[in-house]
């Protein structure tokens, strides 16, 4: 879990809707047994030619894309497979937040466990951000997790939703596992009261 409180950073735009986790990190990169090196392989098949050389026109390969810490993406971002390698790759690359009009459930849950902030905005705000990136690529926006706000350079402020539990964990850089562990005795009581008719693996 990486702590996130505030961020002032430039953005990179990937307007395509339904970007699935096979695009974010193709399956052949899932053979790792740790979390290392995935940032290099982020969006691999969109990012590199067959010979491994970077595609010059792919947004992450441009100077602007390279420095950005915020990704603004099309709707239903992160659909498809449950692979947590997807947010690992995104964070490994250096991105700390993804802004979209909608996220797939499993991807969003995975991201919240890691401290990669999935920020949902309405279509109007999304359009404004995309226009801003196009007109002024060096634009920086402010993300304030405590206040749940995005602030644009002209002072416009937008509020985004996030569940309070995830927010607290991310603000403090605390793994959600701790909360589960704090309920150990309740879990034990549950098990005593809910024995399965048979130990299915006995």
């Amino acid at each position: 879990m990486e702590k996130f409180t505030k961020l002032k950073a430039t953005m990179v735009a990937m307007p395509t809707d339904n970007i699935d986790t096979d695009q974010i990190i193709p399956a052949r990169f899932l053979k790792v047994t740790d979390k290392n090196g995935l940032g290099e392989n982020l969006f691999y098949d969109w990012r590199y030619h067959a010979d491994g050389s970077p595609k010059e026109d792919f947004v992450l390969n441009t100077g602007q894309g390279h420095k950005a810490q915020i990704l603004v993406a099309g709707d239903n971002f992160g659909c498809g497979s449950s692979r947590e390698h997807a947010p690992w790759a995104i964070m490994g690359y250096g991105l700390r937040a993804v802004i979209s009009t909608g996220f797939a459930d499993i991807f969003r849950n995975n991201s919240l466990k890691l401290g990669l902030l999935p920020i949902i905005v309405d279509e109007e705000t999304h359009f404004q951000l995309m226009s801003l990136i196009e007109e002024e690529p060096d634009t920086q926006i402010n993300i304030d997790l405590k206040n749940q706000t995005l602030t644009l350079p002209d002072g416009r402020q937008v509020t985004f939703p996030i569940d309070q539990f995830s927010k607290t964990c991310i603000l403090n850089g605390v793994d959600q596992l701790g909360y589960l562990q704090s309920h150990a005795s309740t879990i034990e009581a549950y098990e005593i009261n809910h024995t399965a008719p048979v130990n299915t693996l006995g």
Binding site: K31, S82, E84
Partner: protein, 472 residues
């Protein structure tokens, strides 16, 4: 009989029965009855346990197998991919060190995790079941609440046997009417996703109901629940009935004796009460369904097999239009183009969607006495070693081999293309799997998703074929 004063959906009954802690403002702590594990998404979770000095709380509720990266070539051929070897060794070591039962390389029960769970009688009605794989929704066919989780959540479940979950919404999918001949469960779910879209079920658990669903076998119900995730849903479920009970009876890990009788009585109470309210609903008229095929690069881009590729110019929404243009470009298809008659290079009969015995039987019924077309390479990958054995006992393997198809060992194989079974760039495949994303079956590969019957018909003709037009 409703309890707590209001009629409940099946989902609510299972949810309420598994709440360990529910504090206002926090996600619920949900107890997990069965945790399935495979070699690709688990290594980092076990590493997390080791780093924190934790053990697995309930190894007796945890089961592991190997499916995603393992080759489907005969075991006499050593695995050449060192990273796959490493993942396998890691899982073996983790299972040994943490005391988890493993159906490994040498096991006659190993296979795709969502095929072996039900086969072994591990998957049962009323359970909460999770796995680090999005197609965990498959197990919902038994009236379980089953869904995919990420690696961090795998670690949570290993350590505490619990998961933090925000309660999802409910979505009733009512399917009524007689399925026409040659229309399969796969066509039902492809039809649904073509209507609701790949984000249509986001935040919801789907419950499949109605006379058509009641008439399906367990394997057919698994096909439908399997692809619930492709509609964006958290999970999909079918309430248990006599079909479910008959399927489970006698399986290796099914209850027996007095425990069986008591369990079955409990299972029969797992239905949605009359008058229960769903957050969303949709109806499907099964009698009007036709064999389906996808044309694009997500599972929602599907149509009747007799249809024509849609025209981006007819789509008003700009981003939807862009999505279709991009998909048609990748697939090298033109607006208005029919797919019938489109040549294919590969036919893949496999995956957790459609590689159970009944799927193989259907395909074999068409292929018997016929040949795979010379321009097609057909690969048949049974869903588990048990399915493979049963198929061989019935002589299905001989039918496939005599037709010129490749009969393999079990595994995920070309669905995810991690093990060397994959398309070459530009190749077209008709596949009984669940995803047609760009590059899913191999970089540059182009996938048409379809049912086992459509796949077999296509293999014989060498081109996309309406099975209803094939002479039996």
């Amino acid at each position: 009989m409703p309890t707590n004063g209001h009629p409940k959906t099946l989902f609510e009954k299972i949810w309420d029965n598994h709440i360990v802690v529910a504090e206002p403002g926090n996600p619920a702590v949900l107890y997990i009855d069965l945790h399935l594990v495979h070699e690709v998404t688990s290594p980092q979770a076990f590493t997390g346990l080791r780093e924190k000095g934790l053990s697995v709380r309930r190894p007796d509720k945890t089961v592991a197998t190997m499916d995603h990266g393992i080759p489907t070539t005969p075991p006499s051929i050593p695995i050449s991919d060192v990273m796959v070897i490493n993942q396998i060794s890691q899982l073996e070591k983790n299972c040994r060190d943490f005391g988890i039962p493993l159906f490994g390389l040498d096991s006659s029960y190993r296979g795709i995790v969502h095929v072996i769970g039900p086969e072994l009688g591990l998957t049962q009605p009323g359970m909460t079941i999770v796995c680090g794989d999005s197609h965990t929704s498959t197990h919902g066919a038994f009236g379980a609440l089953a869904f995919g989780i990420g690696t961090s959540e795998i670690e949570h479940v290993l350590a505490t046997q619990c998961l933090l979950q925000v309660k999802p919404k409910t979505y009733a999918v009512r399917v009524e009417g007689a399925l026409p001949a040659a229309v399969s469960a796969k066509d039902i779910i492809l039809n649904l996703i073509s209507r609701i879209g790949i984000g249509g079920g986001t935040g919801h658990v789907l419950e499949y109901m109605g006379s058509t669903i009641r008439g399906l076998s367990m394997e057919e119900r698994m096909t439908i629940c399997n692809m619930s995730i492709e509609g964006g849903a958290r999970a999909g479920m079918v309430a248990p009935d006599e079909t479910t009970i008959d399927y489970i009876a006698g399986r290796p890990h099914a209850p027996t004796g007095a425990a069986w009788d008591q369990t079955v009585t409990n299972w029969r109470s797992l239905t949605t009460d009359d008058g229960a309210v769903f957050d969303n609903e949709i109806n499907i008229d099964a009698a009007n369904l036709e064999p389906m095929i996808t044309y694009g690069t997500n599972p929602g881009m599907g149509m009747k097999i007799t249809g024509a590729v849609p025209d981006p110019a007819s789509i008003k929404d700009v981003s939807q239009r862009q999505t279709l243009i991009k998909a048609l470009d990748y697939m090298d298809l033109r607006p208005g183009q029919p797919l019938l008659g489109h040549k294919v290079d590969v036919v893949f009969l496999g995956s957790c969607t459609n590689a159970r015995l009944s799927d193989l039987q259907l395909a074999a019924s068409l292929l018997k006495g016929r040949k795979v077309a010379p321009n097609v390479k057909m690969m048949v990958v049974p869903g588990s070693q048990q399915v493979k054995q049963q198929a061989e006992a019935e002589g299905l393997d001989k039918i496939f081999k005599e037709a010129g198809a490749d009969w393999r060992e079990s595994g995920c194989s070309m669905c995810i293309a991690m093990n060397g079974d994959q398309l070459e760039p530009g190749q077209y495949a008709v596949s009984t799997s669940n995803r047609n994303f760009e590059g899913r079956q191999g970089k540059g590969g182009r996938t048409f998703l379809a049912s086992p019957l459509t796949a077999a018909a296509t293999a014989i003709a060498g081109e996309i074929t309406d099975v209803r037009t094939m002479v039996k």
